[in-house]
């Protein structure tokens, strides 16, 4: 739509546009981008100046703007190449760029000079001299730069006097810092005859070198050190000068046998040099010096040596000495750290070694150990498992190796132990055990462990397979039979389980744990039978239980229940009394018996057993349990009698518990009574006031913020809050208090809806008048100011 007028082929930027783009790139130092656009411009120009179908060489008319562009291209190409040469660290590649530049602008004397300089850096003295001759032809008037280039070329070719003469021809106005420096060098390297009058500047490097030449190493060192304390951002060349000084300082120390000082200097040199784009001749000597010093230092200061190797490996990844020695140094550091107790360093070092060689056995073992020592067992398991997998792969070849199998088994057991200690899934333990069994299938202990764990995670069929193998190896006995019975029971193969249990008991009648296991199995079967209403089977199984253990009271209880349900009250009661006979001294059992009696409306018998329970234990727990039992059977009056007795022994929290029970029963008066007792028992305890608040909030009237119930609830809450603040021991009530506050901030309608949601069918609102105000109301207590600790702000 509306695009019909647009051409399908976009023409792209014109030659002029491209040239403008290139100028922008050059201003921003973007050599590659500039080159790319220059090539595009060149191609377009070629197309424009050679019409299709024409024979080559035929003249065509070129528009002026294209002519201008065509004329500009060589210089732009040269500048792009110059930028790239500047950015290039490697001297030979610098030379390549500048050769390309010189090819584009063969008449540019300065490009030629730049090429000479690059060749000097690359050590191409002869080519430099040839290029200089060309440059000299192009710059006949000379100038400072040309003179310096000539002097350098001469000096490099061993002609210091010619160098001196070239420099002397430079007019005083042009004798800049570069001239001064080169003049100093000429004098230094060329001897007295090459010294030039009027050389003013002293350069620390050159002065230091002068001292070196005289054999005064200390003075040289002092000179180098003095210039290093610079506080400015050097240019690339200045940085080269400074770093060279540092290098010489390091080299002097190296030659003096001061390896530590030498290595420190050389490390710094390496670090600085890596951030610049130059390559100087001494850099090839740097690593040789450093490696020699590091090797000499390694026995006494391995960490410094290791730092050196790491630094070299980082900057020169292909350096074989650094690579090999770094690995050795890392190992040494790891071992030393382990022995010295620096387990974090130990773990880190071994981990680093494993990056290069993930199957390094020594590293895996030590890494795992170190991680355990650092208190990181889960990470240790990972390393141990890697070692375990490695040894499993090697098992066939190494099984004959002395101690290998024992080490591997010990490792496996250790992994199992760690898995269990760290709460890992039992399935992982099983996997570990089964992996060990693959290589050690005759190991009965492992099999038994595997069996037990599989039972634990309810995989009985898999467990049975191990049991089969155990029996094949070790024969069948009572232990294997009962294990099989347990597995079969878990697999719901109850008939087989039953017969195996019977067999196990027959083989070892005195074994109590067998009996226990059988009894538990029969319990399950009894429940299943009762669920299926197979009463006779349940009775048979219960009798079997009693045959196994005449004091097994749950069986009596179940039988009694069956008999009573069938109307056989005499039999039923007899069985219940038998329980009391068999377990005479447990009040819980008496309450259980009483409960059964209550189920069948034998209230007097129940009461008798309840009292017997109390005679065994006149404790809050017992009395409360009795009360709760009565509540279960909807006998609140009787329940309260026992709760009253319990209340006499209760502490505050227990009294509040009783109060809550009464609220659940709808017995507000009793609830208030117990709450009042709680408040009296400990007036400074916040819990009763908190409960009070909750009770009050459930009143119908409490939905309206202005209502008396609401205000009272608020007052109770504030009392609870103040009591909580006054005693750090009650910090746990801060959260519920805040929760209630938040609740009370909700709109009345929301609160009402929430309460309605919570109410069950048949429930009714708390009447406003019910116990409100209640006869047990009390004034808030006097709260003493806090004696210690900060008050928690709400």
């Amino acid at each position: 739509m509306g695009n019909k007028s647009k051409s399908k082929h976009r023409p792209g930027p014109s030659v002029v546009d491209l040239v403008e783009l290139v100028r922008g790139h050059l201003r921003r130092g973007q050599g590659e981008e500039a080159l790319e656009n220059l090539r595009a411009a060149e191609a377009k120009l070629r197309q424009a100046t050679q019409a299709p179908g024409q024979s080559p060489g035929k003249k065509i008319s070129i528009p002026p703007h294209l002519v201008a562009a065509q004329n500009a291209l060589p210089d732009l190409f040269a500048r792009a190449r110059l930028i790239l040469a500047r950015q290039e660290a490697e001297p030979r590649r610098k030379v390549e760029h500048l050769r390309e530049a010189a090819a584009r602008v063969p008449r540019d004397g300065r490009i030629a000079l730049a090429l000479v300089a690059a060749r000097m850096m690359a050590g191409e003295k002869d080519a430099a001299a040839a290029d200089f001759r060309r440059a000299a032809e192009l710059l006949p008037s000379g100038g400072g730069l040309a003179a310096r280039t000539l002097a350098m070329a001469a000096l490099a070719s061993g002609r210091p006097i010619e160098a001196k003469e070239a420099l002397e021809r430079v007019s005083p106005e042009e004798r800049d810092a570069g001239w001064q420096r080169l003049a100093t060098i000429v004098g230094l390297l060329g001897g007295l005859d090459a010294r030039i009058e009027g050389v003013r500047e002293s350069f620390p490097l050159l002065t230091g070198v002068e001292h070196l030449a005289r054999g005064d190493r200390d003075a040289a060192l002092r000179q180098f050190a003095s210039s290093l304390a610079q506080d400015r951002q050097p240019t690339e060349a200045e940085a080269a000068l400074l770093t060279t000084e540092l290098f010489y300082a390091g080299a002097i120390r190296f030659e003096a046998g001061e390896d530590e000082a030498a290595l420190s200097s050389l490390s710094e040199v390496l670090w600085i040099a890596s951030s610049y784009r130059w390559r100087l001749p001494w850099m090839s000597r740097l690593t040789a010096l450093g490696h020699t010093a590091a090797n000499r230092l390694a026995p006494t200061n391995p960490s410094l040596s290791l730092k050196w190797w790491e630094a070299v490996a980082r900057h020169f990844p292909d350096d074989p000495v650094a690579r090999t020695n770094q690995a050795l140094g890392l190992r040494a550091r790891a071992i030393k750290a382990g022995i010295d107790g620096d387990f974090e360093t130990c773990a880190k070092s071994w981990d680093e070694i494993l990056l290069a060689n993930p199957q390094n056995e020594e590293a895996l073992k030590n890494l795992a150990l170190a991680r355990e020592k650092c208190g990181r067992p889960a990470e240790a398991i990972d390393a141990w498992r890697r070692l375990d997998r490695l040894w499993q792969q090697q098992f066939k070849q190494r099984a004959v190796e002395s101690g290998f199998k024992e080490r591997w088994l010990t490792l496996g057991h250790h992994i199992v132990k760690l898995l269990l200690d760290t709460g890992q899934p039992v399935s992982e333990v099983v996997d570990q055990l089964e992996a060990m069994l693959r290589h050690d299938p005759e190991n009965l202990d492992l099999r038994r462990q595997a069996f037990d764990r599989l039972i634990e995670i309810e995989l009985p069929e898999r467990a049975l397979k191990h049991l089969d193998k155990i029996e094949q190896q070790d024969g069948r006995n009572a232990n294997t039979v009962v294990r099989r019975a347990v597995a079969l029971a878990d697999a719901d193969r109850w008939k087989e389980a039953m017969s195996h249990f019977e067999e196990a008991i027959a083989l070892d009648p005195g074994n109590q744990s067998f009996r226990r296991a059988f009894l538990l199995f029969l319990d399950r079967e009894v429940s299943a039978s009762l669920d299926r209403r197979n009463i006779q089977r349940a009775i048979d199984l219960l009798n079997r239980q009693l045959a196994l253990d005449g004091a097994y009271f749950p069986a009596y209880g179940q039988l009694a229940g069956i008999k009573l349900s069938a109307g056989e009250y005499g039999e039923g009661k007899k069985l219940l009394e038998k329980i009391a006979e068999v377990v005479p001294d447990k009040w819980e059992i008496r309450i259980g018996i009483a409960k059964v009696y209550l189920q069948f409306d034998f209230a007097k018998d129940a009461a008798r057993h309840f009292e017997f329970a109390v005679s065994l234990s006149d404790s809050f727990s017992c009395l409360e349990a009795i009360g709760k039992t009565y509540l279960e059977f909807d006998l609140p009056g009787k329940a309260v009698k026992y709760f009253d007795r319990a209340a006499e022994k209760a502490d505050v929290e227990q009294l509040v518990e009783l109060s809550n029970l009464m609220v659940d029963e709808g017995r507000r008066k009793d609830a208030n009574r117990y709450l009042a007792m709680a408040k009296k028992a400990d007036p400074l305890h916040p819990l009763p006031w908190l409960s009070d608040t909750l009770f009050l909030l459930e009143k119908r009237g409490a939905f309206l913020p202005g209502s008396a119930a609401y205000r009272k609830a608020q007052a109770a809450l504030e009392t609870a809050a103040k009591l909580t603040d006054a005693n750090p021991a009650y910090q746990k009530y801060l959260e519920p208090i805040q929760a209630i506050r938040d609740e009370m901030k909700k709109s009345p309608v929301d609160r009402m809806i929430e309460l309605l949601d919570r109410m069950e069918v048949g429930d009714d609102w708390e009447q406003d008048d019910d116990d409100f105000p209640n006869e047990f109301d009390s004034e808030p207590p006097f709260i003493p100011p806090p004696t210690r600790g900060k008050q928690r702000r709400r």
Partner: protein, 121 residues
């Protein structure tokens, strides 16, 4: 894990390598006992005996090998270190000259390049 980190190393006491066979362990033990008989060196004999008991028990030896940092492993054996192919040359007039000229070439290059970019064509 059996903590035997701080005890003496049985391998060190018997002066044998970690991978020693049972026969080698026995041999080393007897050799040591000959040098430290109980009558003349009861303490030494006790140490040697204790070391031997650990190493001849497959289980204890396995635990030792697995759960202890090996103190005997040479921290850094200088003889194993790789050496540079070429020896580091000493500072000499030739090396100084080479370095100075290279730095000068760098300065010159920078100055020429700056000069070119300073002037507009």
């Amino acid at each position: 894990m059996d903590e035997i980190h701080h005890r003496e190393d049985p391998y060190e006491i018997l002066e044998i390598a970690a991978g020693a066979t049972e026969a080698e362990i026995k041999q080393a033990y007897f050799a040591k006992v000959r040098r430290h008989p109980p009558e003349s060196d009861p303490e030494g004999f006790k140490r040697i005996r204790a070391a031997y008991e650990i190493l001849r028990s497959a289980q204890q030896r396995a635990e030792l090998d697995l759960f202890q940092f090996d103190r005997r492993v040479a921290a850094l054996d200088p003889s194993q270190l790789a050496r540079p192919e070429v020896e580091a040359p000493k500072i000499s007039t030739a090396t100084i000259k080479e370095d100075l000229l290279a730095i000068e070439a760098l300065f010159l290059f920078e100055d020429v390049a700056s000069d070119i970019f300073r002037t507009e064509r």
